[in-house]
């Protein structure tokens, strides 16, 4: 059996958000760097697809290394399955985030289940049961308030646009965010 360390690939992803103005228009640019912890390699990217390709190639190396004693047929089949799993993750990951935005109540219930597993003490402190009682109408109220606010902002923007002349100024702000280490462990 292969060691756990040999079956683990960790990645550190750094994103630099750069907001700047050009020709009177606000723009955002993302610059990033993804590092493979165990191998020490890294890759700079301005398109996240490049980071995904980098991660994918490191995971493929992991599968190839773990299956080097297998026949080429078995190795090929495992590699395809490995790729397919990665494709599912990259396809389903954003869906989970979208679901959370669309149905927060369901996600609160999920968190509730996970926390209640930790014991009664925590339940007492958090009083999370009260969250569960939030109804769909509560969320609709929040949604309506946000829509009303968005309309107001739209109107204000229109007013500002009407009174201001675009100036050719350039201003830059930079924000750096580092994604927590992503650890992919393959168990045999």
């Amino acid at each position: 059996m292969a060691k756990k360390a040999d079956q683990t690939a960790s990645f550190m992803v750094r994103f630099n958000q750069i907001i700047f103005e050009e020709d009177g228009e606000s723009k955002v640019q993302w610059r990033g760097k993804v590092s493979h912890v165990q191998g020490g390699d890294d890759k700079s990217f301005s398109d996240f697809k490049e980071a995904v390709a980098f991660i994918q190639s490191k995971l493929a190396d992991l599968t190839l290394e773990a299956t080097k004693h297998e026949t080429p047929e078995v190795q090929d089949s495992l590699l395809k399955k490995s790729f397919s799993l990665w494709k599912t993750i990259s396809k389903e990951g954003p869906k989970v985030i979208l679901e959370t935005i669309k149905d927060p109540r369901k996600q609160v219930a999920n968190i509730q289940d996970q926390i209640s597993y930790l014991g009664e003490d925590l339940m007492d402190k958090v009083h999370i049961d009260q969250w569960r009682n939030a109804s769909r109408s509560d969320f609709n109220t929040i949604k309506d308030s946000i829509s009303a606010l968005a309309d107001e902002v739209k109107k204000l923007n229109a007013k500002v646009d009407a009174i201001s002349t675009p100036a050719k100024t350039t201003k830059t702000t930079k924000t750096t965010k580092t994604a927590k280490t992503t650890r992919a462990t393959k168990k045999k």
């Binding site: 060691k3 683990t8 550190m12 640019q29 020490g40 700079s44």
Partner: protein, 266 residues
């Protein structure tokens, strides 16, 4: 007295007074009563690793034993953990009487953490200096300058360089790198008029850590102009443009391009 300058004095004093001092940047060293501990005293590598793990996770209070074991051992059992913990305590407190609680590694049930009020660690101090610098920046430049200088003085290289392939250390390494990049650039900006040569050096330090850090190139360009060195300012722009093209396939930001135009018009 300014509370920020009080904090600065306290931090410096703690570095002098702490019985245990740990260096993690550039190299790993430990001093007890100002005496450097020989690496042979650690015995097993896992003992050092356990202390380094506690340092890396020092801000996550009370680390559960199982979690520590999961990160440090392939198939470790309780005994492995106890041996390593005993090793750490023995190095930190060789004279501790048996059946007394350790002073530096605090135990709460089956959770463990380092006592940061007693142990001085370079990365912790570096972060505290940068916090003071950031709080003072814009309000009290003298304190900000001093705090960033202290932080930079502590940065002697990458965090735990012999553990770069261990994923439990990578988060702290990344955090420190971002903090120090910011400190270099902000201090270079503060010193731009007062000492442009130092600004150039500080910006170069940032570029040595991350050669795509565009702010640093822009500061170098400005500092070279302050020194009246137009060719070097243009050279700094070219270097920036080449690196961004190679690494990202993009051009410098409008702010950098505009600065070049200004320099070319001089």
């Amino acid at each position: 007295m300014n509370p920020l300058s009080d904090r600065l004095i306290e931090l410096k004093q703690f570095q002098k007074d702490a019985i245990i001092r740990i260096q993690t940047l550039g190299q790993f060293h430990l001093w007890i009563h100002n005496e450097k501990i020989d690496s042979k005293k650690w015995g097993r590598d896992k003992t050092v690793q356990l202390l380094q793990y506690l340092i890396s996770n020092r801000q996550r209070h009370a680390l559960h034993k199982e979690k520590i074991m999961d990160h440090l051992w392939e198939d470790g059992d309780d005994r492995d953990f106890k041996v390593a913990l005993h090793g750490v305590n023995k190095v930190l407190e060789p004279e501790r009487p048996s059946r007394t609680e350790p002073s530096y590694v605090i135990r709460q049930g089956i959770s463990y953490q380092l006592d940061l009020e007693k142990v001085w660690i370079d990365v912790e101090a570096l972060e505290q200096y940068i916090i003071i610098g950031n709080e003072a920046f814009g309000e009290n430049q003298a304190i900000a300058k001093e705090a960033y200088k202290e932080a930079i003085a502590l940065y002697r290289g990458v965090y735990l360089p012999n553990r770069v392939f261990e994923d439990w250390s990578s988060e702290e390494r990344e955090k420190i790198q971002i903090l120090i990049l910011g400190a270099y650039v902000i201090l270079a900006e503060i010193l731009l008029n007062e000492n442009p040569l130092e600004s150039i050096r500080l910006a170069q330090c940032a570029i040595a850590i991350d050669n795509t850090w565009e702010d640093a190139y822009r500061l170098q360009m400005q500092a070279y102009i302050k020194k009246g060195n137009r060719p070097q300012a243009i050279k700094a722009y070219q270097k920036c443009a080449d690196v961004l093209e190679k690494e990202y396939g993009i051009e410098p930001l409008p702010a950098t391009k505009n600065l070049l135009k200004e320099i070319e018009n001089i």
